[in-house]
Amino acid sequence: MQAIPPTSTVLSSLLRADLTTQWRNRKSFMLILLVPVVILLSWKPAIDKLGGTFVLGTCLTLGLIAIGLMGYSNSVARDRDKGVFQRLRVAPLPTWSIMVSRLAIQLMLIFLMATAVFIAGSYFDKITLSASGYIMGYLASIMGGAVYLGLGQMIVGLIKNAETVHSTSRLVYFVFIMVGMLGELGVLGKEIAEAVLWSPYGTVKHIIASSIHTGSWDVSASKALVATIGYAVVFSGLGIKWFKWSGSEK
């Protein structure tokens, strides 16, 4: 009779495989990194006007949107389509371990992306933060990352076809970037600017900008944090509820 292997062994095997898969897909991660870093560099002349924390907050938010919508949702949709999840589910492992391993990799990517933005900000734009600013920046990025991973989960929960997930997540990503950035700057009008402030884009950007600028946390930042947690809970909850492990599952 075969026994059930220890969860720690299962998790370490899954993590190693997911890490290898991510490493082999490093080109796509580099592309995800490119958007926030390019925006960081291109906004160099506007830093004095907008402020370093505003620019860093925007770039980190864009990076988080890319990880959740372009990276996570597409990889989950592809593996579901190819039957990778079904193969894992017939093995003696708890199903939660499959997603915990995937999320651990996303956490690592968020950390790498934030580090890249902080380094680029410091090196090219001379935006330096205090040690607590960096630590809070990482924590806020993880919190913001939960919103977009949840949104990515919701998209793969709603849509079964991998190609449709791919195109939908691209569209949502584009809308978030354009409406978020332009709306926030007031280009799309006052009403849109107000709406963006309380959108997932606005609240995540707000908590990141307030976190990295130590001492600037105020009541509106606390409200944005509550809204961010709310978005993360709702998106993840619906994403988990709607999610099917197989594209053909009825």
Binding site: Q2, P5, S12, S13, A17, T20, R24, R87
Partner: protein, 277 residues
């Protein structure tokens, strides 16, 4: 030898057969019902697979084969019925049941970025198997993939992917092996090789549940087969027994092509000649 009574419905004769199932069954499916909303996909199905037996589950598209298999694998929750793998209840002891079965899914894949060695390492970890370098080499030699061990799964040919899939299904030497249309898309040589592997597994005492559309395959390797249609088992017997039992059935005679009755003729005679989608 301990035996117990199992009730099985034979819809073609509208009667209930009581049969004895040996206690060394590695798989027991009892009165299984699977429903998808209003559609009753599997109706009161019972069968068993013994140690050292290749059991074929045959049926046209949409007959309920994959639903039965998915219920055994724990991929879907049946409406009612009981399933035991190596004595473990699939519903209540799912992890233990899955630890004692090896599965080759019909539409399965591994991460295309992982190479053969990495896939073996991943699944040996998941099944708690200590995979030494010698054991890895021996596995790779057995499936003729030593030269391709650094190739990514996505770069392997269909036959090579099937061999990797089969070796993963067997990596923990399970009591029960589930093979869902394993020879689909294989050339005749690769198919024959897989049959030999199945027979070798049977000789080593593994119980194999095989679903296939190939009646030639079922006739060649299965010890017993069940024909399932519209979610119900129509008949269970040895391939030869089924042919003998139905050789005078007018539908079967009509289906035969060269005078000699084959399992395919019996299958078509019992399930109809209409193409299913």
């Amino acid at each position: 030898m301990k035996t117990k009574m199992v009730t099985q419905t034979d819809s073609s004769h509208k009667q209930v057969i009581n049969m004895h199932v040996q206690s060394q069954a590695v798989l027991e499916v009892l009165n299984l019902n699977v429903k998808y909303e209003d559609f009753h996909a599997v109706k009161n199905v019972s069968f068993s697979v013994q140690e050292g037996e290749i059991f074929g589950l045959l049926g046209p598209n949409g007959a309920g084969k994959t639903s039965c298999l998915s219920a055994v694998e724990g991929l879907l929750v049946p409406e009612s019925g009981e399933i035991y793998v190596a004595g473990y209840d699939v519903k209540k002891q799912g992890l233990l049941a899955r630890a004692n079965m090896g599965v080759q899914l019909q539409a399965t894949s591994f991460q295309p970025e992982l190479n053969v060695m990495e896939i073996l390492k991943l699944y040996s970890g998941i099944y708690g198997v200590d995979l030494t370098k010698e054991k890895m080499d021996s596995i790779l030699n057995n499936i003729n993939l030593r030269e391709s061990r650094s190739k990514k799964f996505g770069q392997l040919s269909g036959g090579q992917q099937q061999r990797v899939s089969l070796v993963i299904a067997l990596i923990h030497e399970p009591k029960l092996v589930l093979l869902d249309e394993p020879t689909t898309g294989l050339d005749p040589q690769a198919r024959r090789q897989l049959w030999e592997r199945m027979e070798a597994l049977r000789n080593m005492g593994h119980g194999i549940l095989l679903t296939t559309h190939s009646m030639e395959e079922a006739e060649a390797v299965c010890d017993r087969v069940s024909i399932i249609d519209h979610g119900q088992i129509i008949n269970t017997d040895t391939p030869g027994g089924l042919i003998d039992k139905h050789r005078n059935n007018p539908e079967v005679i009509r289906a035969s092509r060269k005078g000699k009755i084959t399992l395919e003729d019996v299958f078509i005679g019992l399930t109809g000649s209409q193409v299913r989608v």
